[in-house]
């Protein structure tokens, strides 16, 4: 089941999506999380962030909208309270980082490297404060500058998590590759909104939020396929994966590894079930290696 995402070697292709697996502790009450290929922990910012007012989540058909507001304990809190637990894990630990300037990302990535984590994932769906709040991940120039700056300073495998809220995602995939990103992960949530027709109020306090879950899967699969055609670097596919069949679909579209996000909320054991299901699929199809599935789409 081994997969190589460039320099980042995983025992299997099943990972968790940032923000849906906490810092690993909660789900380790339910199963041995070392069985996973990697865990991607909830995004860290330089300073603690309180997040948004409630309600922060609402359910939508086959999905959910969230606007948690990146609540996190900040770098210091992360290093003190979470790293000791993460360091003793026998799976790869990838730290998602977020900031409002290239300096924030560099500082975080350097700290993650020093803390002995295995890779860093850039959450680029944040506003660039110095450039009038434009979101890094939806502006090609801001995106390019950010990845270039971080790459210069950070040796760890660098994963760039792409926003789907752009006209042409493959353009961003190509920029990430050209600027030295080792891996791309996609997709982040799609911007969405839901209204209570009786109260006429938005169903989450932030008005808009990120749509996730099976509802977005076809969009995500399409985007993985488009990015696969545009770049050679490894792709981590995600967006609505709750079963092995979903995971295989992403791999056929071109994903080298996959991540379970909202699926963790439905059942703490979703990742394990996806992993076991992929094994069964491979057995039934006579597939020996995961890489035989990746990009195997026939069309």
């Amino acid at each position: 089941m081994k997969v190589s995402l460039g320099r980042l070697k995983l025992k299997n292709p099943v990972m968790t999506a940032s923000g849906t697996f906490g810092y690993g502790k909660e789900y380790s009450e339910f199963f041995d999380i070392n069985k996973l290929g990697a865990i991607v922990i909830k995004g860290i910012s330089v300073n603690p962030m309180p997040g948004n007012p409630t309600p922060r989540i609402c359910e939508t058909p086959s999905g959910m909208i969230n606007a948690i507001g990146l609540q996190n304990p900040g770098l210091k809190g992360f290093l003190k309270d979470q790293v000791p637990f993460l360091k003793q894990l026998k799976t790869k630990v990838i730290v998602n980082v977020l900031g409002n300037s290239a300096d924030d990302y560099i500082r975080l990535a350097e700290a993650v490297e020093e803390a002995g984590m295995n890779a860093v994932e850039l959450n680029v769906s944040c506003p660039n404060v110095k450039k009038g709040g434009i979101v890094f991940g939806t502006d090609p120039k801001a995106f390019e500058d950010l990845i270039t700056a971080v790459r210069k300073k950070v040796k760890l495998p660098l994963i760039t998590k792409l926003s789907p809220n752009v006209a042409k995602i493959s353009e961003f995939a190509k920029i990430a590759e050209d600027c030295g990103s080792d891996i791309i992960s996609l997709i982040n949530t799609l911007t969405g909104m839901s209204i209570d027709i009786n109260t006429r109020k938005p169903r989450i306090a932030n008005i808009i939020g990120g749509l996730s879950g099976p509802a977005i899967k076809p969009v995500a699969v399409r985007m993985v396929w488009e990015c696969r055609k545009a770049v050679k670097i490894p792709i981590i596919g995600m967006g609505g994966i709750i079963a092995a069949e979903d995971a295989v679909e992403f791999m056929l579209a071109g994903a080298d590894a996959i991540a379970v996000g909202t699926g963790n909320f439905l059942n703490p054991l979703t990742t394990l079930q996806v992993l076991e299901g992929i094994k069964l699929h491979m057995k039934s199809q006579g597939i020996n290696s995961v890489s035989e599935i990746t990009g195997g789409l026939i069309c």
């Binding site: 989540i57 609402c58 609540q71 054991l269």
Partner: protein
């Protein structure tokens, strides 16, 4: 695939033994877990899958209403698609449940206990009342009208002092539970501060209650609710603001000391 070490007493299949309407839109669900479970604490909750499909996607958090002969009971109101589907599930069908989750009520050993429940707030309070009947708590339970009272005579089977109230006075005392509580405390011989209140209800009820309690130095512990996706502490959807920072209803709660809540 499931290691017993990890999932014991957490992820369980349960058979529906009964799912009956009690009053308009309110149902009592009785589940028989496929494996023996330990006794949940009053105030703890389970996440219940309402069907096996993708819509609705998330499990529903329901607090334990009773635990009898190894069977779990939940009292719920049909408020949307999820609970509507749950109400259509029939005896013999199986559903997945996750729990018990969260922390239950911590019962004071010295104070006079008052249990306060408005409407569906009776769901966890009933279980607490049954568990601590020996401590001689006083139960104040109310609803809008006689028709919307989930329990009337049955609640007397708990064998504890009970005051029932309706907003319109169509059954029991007239007034909402908070006004009835105020009058009860005024009339009782014990000082206000010798009491502790355990409750469950909406923010609309808890907020004035918290103000009243802090005025008179009474402790109140309340089971709170909030939209949640995972129930196990990872989605960060269900936070409440407290004097000690943001706390998760599912993990640090659902029972909070109301004096520590910072209301928006």
């Amino acid at each position: 695939m499931r290691s017993l070490k990890y999932v014991l007493n957490k992820i369980i299949k349960a058979k529906i033994q009964d799912n009956r309407k009690i009053i308009d839109r309110h149902y009592l669900l009785t589940l028989e877990p496929s494996t023996a479970i330990t006794t949940p604490k009053p105030g703890q909750f389970y996440m219940l899958s309402v069907n096996n499909g993708l819509d609705p996607l998330l499990k529903r958090p329901l607090s334990v209403h009773n635990f009898l002969d190894g069977k779990l009971q939940f009292l719920y109101r049909v408020v949307g698609k999820g609970t509507d589907l749950l109400s259509s599930r029939v005896t013999g069908e199986s559903i997945d449940i996750l729990g018990p989750l969260g922390n239950g009520f911590t019962v004071s050993k010295t104070k006079q206990i008052i249990l306060l429940a408005g409407g569906l707030g009776i769901a966890p309070i009933y279980y607490l009342a049954a568990s601590i009947a020996g401590r001689k708590p006083v139960l104040i339970y109310g609803a809008g009208t006689k028709e919307t009272l989930i329990y009337r005579d049955q609640i007397k089977n708990l064998g504890i002092e009970t005051v029932i109230a309706t907003d319109d006075g169509s059954y029991g005392k007239k007034g909402n539970v908070v006004t009835v509580l105020k009058k009860y405390l005024k009339d009782t011989s014990l000082p206000y501060t010798d009491h502790i209140i355990y409750t469950c209800g909406s923010e609309a009820m808890l907020k004035p209650l918290a103000e009243f309690a802090s005025e008179h130095g009474i402790k109140i512990h309340a089971a709170m609710e909030q939209n949640m996706a995972c129930g196990v502490g990872t989605c960060m959807g269900c936070v409440v603001k407290t004097r000690k920072g943001l706390k998760r209803v599912c993990k640090e709660g659902p029972v909070f000391n109301l004096n520590e809540i910072e209301w928006e």
